[in-house]
């Protein structure tokens, strides 16, 4: 740890390069993030549309927001679908990921190799994940469809992707397949970083595996579990690529997540003023979740410094 004296000296020395080093980054972000953000807000008060005549972007006040709250059940349906998707996918990922991390934590020798294999789905482009899902779940020749029918889970004529409820389950399964490795990876890193003392003491006292897990591992891991939970929730809330490729939001609107709906309003219906409101709503939710994440890590860093 740096002594207070070196810290203050570094501060003085920084005065010269600080602005020089920071400005380019801030300018670039202003261009690609801040600008578009305020442009979205501005758009949301207009009636701009590339599809309707005479909708050239004149000011309409809060009309678009009124429409969102009062007369767009499809938006709220997709909001519910999104929450259902996030809840189900993240819950399963956390449980499975934690279980697999526990399995691997005890076997240091083989772990690196096994871990590399298990990580593969997480690093593939989400678009290819969607395609793999489609290939596996095809009604006529999908590999998973075939075996699920063999063991009687799926009916002879049922195809998951053309059945509203099963399609929703399919996108959850696909997300679980892709992201459980992430949960495993981070929780495993957390487990391996835990102090050994409490565990040795518990073993000396003859505590059972279950007791150790419940009374020591889980409480010690709680901060990391919280972070993973938040990160996964934020990412799942933004999900677009896989679902776009796998179901396109269908059948009907059964798997139409908020991001897919926003895409449809903007780039299929070209209803850009209203589309800006939808985009802004997605942004808002993610912004709130990110600030919770940030609070959590800065609180943890402060306690670590003490």
């Amino acid at each position: 740890m740096a002594s207070p004296r070196t810290r203050s000296r570094a501060l003085v020395l920084d005065r010269g390069v600080g602005p020089l080093f920071l400005t380019p980054a801030l300018v670039l972000l202003a261009l690609v993030v801040v600008g578009p953000f305020f442009y979205t807000i501005a758009l949301s008060f207009t009636n701009l549309s590339y599809a309707l005549p005479d909708h050239n972007g004149s000011f309409v006040g809060f009309d678009n927001y009124r429409r969102l709250v009062r007369s767009d059940p499809v938006f709220w349906d997709s909001f519910k679908t999104t929450l259902l998707f996030v809840g189900a996918a993240v819950a399963v990922e956390m449980l499975l990921g934690f279980g697999i991390a526990l399995l691997l934590a005890g076997r240091l020798a083989r772990q690196r190799f096994v871990l590399t294999l298990v990580l593969v789905p997480m690093m593939l482009a989400p678009v290819t994940i969607g395609l793999i899902g489609k290939l596996m779940l095809q009604g006529e020749f999908g590999l998973a469809t075939y075996y699920l029918r063999q063991i009687g889970i799926l009916g002879e004529q049922t195809a998951m992707l053309s059945h509203p409820k099963l399609a929703l389950i399919a996108i959850v399964i696909l997300d679980v397949w892709q992201w459980t490795p992430f949960v495993t990876l981070v929780l495993l890193a957390g487990m391996l970083g835990l102090p050994r003392g409490p565990f040795e003491a518990a073993i000396m006292d003859g505590a059972s595996r279950a007791r150790i897990l419940w009374d020591i591992t889980l409480p010690l891991l709680r901060p990391i579990i919280g972070l993973v939970l938040l990160l996964r929730s934020i990412d799942a809330f933004k999900e677009f690529d896989k679902v776009f490729v796998l179901t396109g939001g269908g059948p009907g609107t059964a798997t139409e997540l908020l991001s897919i709906y926003t895409y449809r309003v903007n780039f299929r219906e070209w209803d850009l003023g209203y589309g800006a409101v939808c985009a802004f709503m997605v942004y808002l939710v993610v912004l709130i979740l990110s600030s919770v994440f940030y609070k959590a890590i800065s609180r943890r860093d402060r306690t670590a410094e003490r």
Binding site: L28, P36, L43, I100, L103, L131, M136, L231, F267
Partner: protein, 275 residues
């Protein structure tokens, strides 16, 4: 070793093997599909044994002219990686070494740009770049991808710089370097492994990205990920070709992942958890 714990051990190994098989089978199935004949792809009973063919690779990359898409993906990924590093590494250094009023807020701001949902950012980007006549160029995709890569660089590199003792900076300055000179001559070489890992992660994120590229560059500058869904049609998808493109899109990434595995945890949790 007692009988009981040997059985326990066997069960654990069996479970781990089952998990690995579940994790890998879908991917391997796609790799197999890319080298199967047309009829074997469409067979309603899964075909595990067949004589491999490369016809789909030729069919899509040469006949359907998908080769330039690989080039687009590579140029865009390298472009955004360089841009994000050149701009982000010095900024990360400032965050690692000094606290000033508002530095916490600024740092949070970088995080929010990493978290920003692509669907929300891409709508105004599309309209702005459309007005500027820049749609369908590699440049706009590079700029769009720097929204997430720049903050990835800042967050990851701050951690790496923080691990270098500040005494190194001071020693370099005592040797007669200016502050900026010390950064370039001493700090950058020390941080080189971190920079390399960060670069690979930037490359992967850009190469895998879909939504920005799909909306902003749908034709001449389209990337490999954007080209894939275009091959899926409601009637008569050539799955062999789809799989062939997907294999080319994923193989380099799997190799890269092995290279940076040690730094993955840090990269994917914004430095919140050290691997």
């Amino acid at each position: 070793m007692s009988q009981m714990s040997r059985a326990w051990r066997g069960a654990v190994v069996a479970l781990v093997v089952a998990i690995v098989i579940l994790a890998l089978t879908p991917y391997l199935w796609m790799v197999l599909t890319s080298v199967k004949g047309r009829l074997e792809v469409l067979s309603d009973k899964p075909v595990w044994k067949f004589s491999p063919t490369l016809e789909h690779y030729g069919g899509v990359f040469i006949d359907k002219k998908y080769l330039p898409l690989v080039w687009n993906s590579a140029i865009i990924a390298v472009g955004t990686t360089i841009l994000s590093l050149v701009i982000g590494v010095p900024a990360a250094y400032v965050f690692a070494r000094s606290r000033f009023r508002g530095s916490e807020d600024l740092f949070f701001f970088f995080l929010t740009t990493r978290m920003a949902p692509a669907i929300s950012v891409v709508v105004p980007m599309y309209l702005l770049f459309n007005k500027l006549g820049l749609l369908d160029t590699r440049l706009v995709v590079v700029l769009a991808h720097s929204t997430f890569n720049l903050s990835l660089v800042v967050w990851m590199m701050r951690g790496f710089f923080a691990e270098i003792p500040p005494q190194m900076d001071e020693a370099a300055q005592l040797d007669g370097h200016t502050r900026a000179g010390a950064f370039v001559r001493v700090l950058l070489p020390l941080a080189a492994p971190g920079i390399a890992a960060t670069a690979v992660l930037c490359f992967i994120l850009s190469w895998n990205e879909f939504l920005y590229a799909f909306i902003l560059a749908a034709f001449d500058a389209r990337t490999l990920t954007v080209g894939i869904p275009g091959l899926v049609t409601p009637h008569g998808t050539l799955w062999g070709q789809v799989a062939a493109v997907a294999v080319v899109a994923t193989l380099p990434i799997i190799l890269f992942t092995i290279v940076v595995q040690r730094h993955l945890v840090r990269g994917l949790t914004f430095g919140a958890v050290k691997g």
